[in-house]
């Protein structure tokens, strides 16, 4: 008798990756469904770290918000502050001098170097290469030291202010920074070589989590994941904000589109950033004091709006700031790169093994605290609802004038 019917019994195991999981340094839940070791479905859940920063920014003055937006993300705080400060400058019509612009770029590039070193170290740790993790983190300390010399703080720099920066540097500090950068350059080159030659790294990263150029454009990916798939997208090159029009640099692009390409691209970008920092230190203009007098800054902001973008270490970061003439901003809207990169890439995990899930996730360089959005849970009915962008823009109010909504 011929077989007429086959009943397939699907077997899959639900494995929660996160929100507290050793693979992730930040809270995010990936619900991974696996058939044996093969991943068949992934659901991305966020919402474990929502702090209401946009709302907080609307309740504080324009100047206080510089410090609040700096706390959106610990690692890329300078770019957040820079993006917001430039929006304020656009509203006020203020232009900082060249020295201040150069120093801003220096701070942001130092941040890019240590961010890229951090995520490469985390990748080493994810694939169980602890000694490499420890060594990269140790060398990253040099950049943290450099950031401390420049801004006064290792992590949260609070360096940007309207019309300039908070600190200037002298020749002694310049020499110290150059020394630290030269030492780091040597080490970064070495680590790049390790990532290109080490057997376990190649075996774990090459051809894992490939995303094509078409998919990058389809899912609006940005930053290093997009550039590693051959899409030349970089806000520094397209916007040329601050001193990026004067400081020479190359936009690094790779074609492979896998996890390995994304990590190597970050090493290349770190080397590019080191060269930029050195160029800035050697060609720092002296066209005035970069530190504006805080007492002379305008107290009132005219009604208006500004939209600015920067290239954060993780991709394009945008700020929309609206002033209605009151001491506090009417609206501050932040669009972070991780928001695009993490939520839109759940399909990349499919077909890989469970061991590859953390590798692919880390290769996007997730910054969870940047990307939190809210889910509304109705306690009486138990209903869960995601808020749309429009509703978020209304700030919970039922109705708002179309003039002020996005």
């Amino acid at each position: 008798m011929a077989i007429t019917k086959i009943i397939e019994i699907p077997y899959s195991l639900e494995i929660p990756v996160g929100p507290q999981h050793p693979a992730l340094h930040e809270p995010l839940l990936l619900k991974v469904y696996a058939d044996g070791e093969e991943v068949v479905k992934v659901e991305v859940y966020t919402g474990y770290n929502h702090r209401g920063i946009e709302k907080l920014a609307e309740r504080n003055s324009f100047y206080r918000d510089i410090f609040i937006v700096g706390r959106v993300c610990g690692i890329c705080n300078t770019v957040h502050a820079n993006c917001y400060v430039r929006a304020l400058e656009q509203i006020l019509g203020i232009e900082p001098n060249n020295r201040a612009k150069y120093l801003r770029v220096l701070a942001m590039e130092l941040e890019r170097i240590h961010s890229h070193m951090l995520i490469n170290a985390v990748m080493a740790e994810i694939i169980g290469f602890e000694s490499l993790f420890m060594n990269i983190m140790l060398d990253r300390e040099r950049i943290m030291k450099a950031k401390e010399i420049l801004t006064g703080n290792r992590v949260l720099a609070d360096y940007m202010m309207v019309g300039g920066v908070r600190r200037d540097i002298n020749d002694e500090k310049k020499n110290k920074l150059l020394k630290l950068l030269n030492k780091t350059e040597e080490r970064v080159k070495y680590y790049k070589q390790v990532f290109m030659e080490d057997d376990t790294i190649l075996k774990r990263l090459v051809d894992v989590g490939i995303i094509t150029k078409t998919d990058v454009l389809k899912y609006s990916l940005i930053g290093p994941p997009a550039r590693a798939s051959g899409v030349k997208i970089d806000a520094r090159a397209s916007d040329k904000y601050d001193a990026y029009d004067e400081v020479p640099f190359n936009v690094v692009v790779k074609k492979e589109g896998d996890s390995w390409a994304r990590m190597i691209l970050r090493w290349d970008e770190a080397l590019e950033s080191i060269n930029m920092c050195k160029y800035i230190l050697e060609n720092l203009p002296s066209d005035g004091n970069p530190v504006p007098d805080e007492k002379r800054l305008p107290r009132r902001f005219p009604p208006g709006e500004a939209f600015t973008r920067v290239e954060a270490p993780r991709g394009e970061l945008t700020y929309y700031v609206m002033s209605d003439g009151k001491p506090m901003p009417y609206r501050v809207k932040i669009r972070t790169p991780s928001f695009n990169n993490i939520i839109n890439t759940a399909n990349v995990y499919l077909g890989h093994s469970i061991a590859d899930v953390p590798v692919i996730l880390v290769s996007w360089d997730p910054c969870i605290s940047c990307m939190e959005r809210i889910t509304v849970l109705d306690l009486t009915t138990g209903e869960r609802k995601r808020m749309h962008l429009k509703e978020l823009a209304r700030g919970g109010r039922k109705w708002v004038s179309p003039r002020y909504s996005i």
Partner: protein, 329 residues
């Protein structure tokens, strides 16, 4: 008769049984931690005891005496503990077969008893312990251990069978650990048998990494992928016993390489200064090599690890075994 019983009890409870084996296992854990820390530019354990040497003892003591046991609806903690003790008992019994023991069990084919206890009961205890405390990560961890065992244990058996087979040609009792250990140094001086022993040593070192579940083969307990793998649901005393069983397994594997493959202290007796020094140097050298391998590799995926084990452990060991068979003919 009475003296025999007393020697047996002493050898089970004190040396080289319970007390010595547990102390050596935890000291080996300390060595691994300290060496790895040194290579990673960290300090490693420093707080408990001189230079932190008592840290692993304190950790286990804390887990067994202080920490609470967290159980789920489906957990069977008593079964887990029972099998942890079974595994430890198997490990203690194994020490009586090594020349290290003062109560030596020597006989024809005692090597097979060693393999039965070491390759069957210890991994089986770990697996049953893990299955008694089930969870999603645990099931993946156990499935990974089972995949490992299929390649790792035959390779371990084959690599240790090479010296035993070679020695059995000329000496009796045949296929005995004691005979192999006492005489294998002569075969390290024989130009025909050295390549075979080198091949089986390479295989044994690769297998040590796999059995100890340290990089590049720490796949069943891959922290960043599946939390702690087969150990995820262990807590309190069960975790303490699990750690102890794992360390004891590592120690027994290192001791087996030191005694069966490298010949222990021989030609010097145990109770002589050169004998003691040779044994300690061999033991430390193997721990050092293992720690270096741990720190120069990341972790492979399971299929890559199985392929590596096949390539660098099972095949060399089998080639060495076949050549050893040809040699004894």
């Amino acid at each position: 008769m009475m003296a025999d019983i007393l020697t047996l009890i002493f050898s089970i409870l004190i040396y080289p049984g319970l007390l010595f084996l547990f102390s050596l296992a935890l000291f080996t854990q300390y060595l691994y931690r300290k060496l790895s820390a040194h290579m990673q530019k960290r300090m490693g354990p420093t707080y408990v005891g001189p230079k932190g040497v008592l840290q692993p003892f304190y950790d286990v003591w804390k887990l067994i005496h202080v920490k609470e046991e967290v159980v789920t609806k489906y957990s069977l903690p008593l079964i887990a503990k029972f099998f942890a003790l079974t595994g430890l008992a198997a490990a203690i019994t194994v020490t009586a077969l090594l020349p290290l023991s003062i109560y030596r069990i020597i006989g024809n084919y005692d090597f097979l008893v060693y393999i039965y206890l070491c390759c069957l009961w210890i991994p089986l205890s770990m697996i049953i312990m893990s299955l008694s405390m089930p969870g999603p990560y645990t099931s993946i961890g156990v499935s990974r251990i089972l995949s490992f065992i299929t390649v790792c244990e035959p390779a371990y058996f084959a690599s240790l069978l090479v010296p035993v087979t070679l020695v059995s040609k000329d000496y009796s009792p045949v296929y005995s650990i004691y005979t192999a250990s006492v005489n294998i140094w002569k075969y390290w001086l024989n130009p025909y048998t050295v390549p075979l022993l080198i091949l089986s040593l390479i295989a044994a070192l690769v297998i040590l990494q796999a059995k100890a579940m340290i990089p590049p083969f720490n796949i069943p307990e891959a922290e960043q992928e599946i939390i702690a793998g087969f150990e995820t649901e262990f807590s309190g005393p069960i975790l303490g016993l699990g750690i102890l069983l794992h360390d004891v397994d590592v120690t027994i594997t290192i001791l087996s390489v030191v005694y069966i493959l490298l010949g222990g202290p021989y030609p010097f007796p145990h109770l002589s200064i050169p004998g003691i020094v040779i044994v300690i140097v061999k033991y430390l050298a193997i721990v050092l090599i293992s720690a270096v391998i741990e720190n120069i590799f990341g972790r492979y995926r399971i299929e890559q690890a199985l392929y590596i084990m096949l390539k660098y452990a099972l095949i060399p060991a089998l080639i060495a075994l076949i050549l050893a068979m040809i040699y004894i003919l």
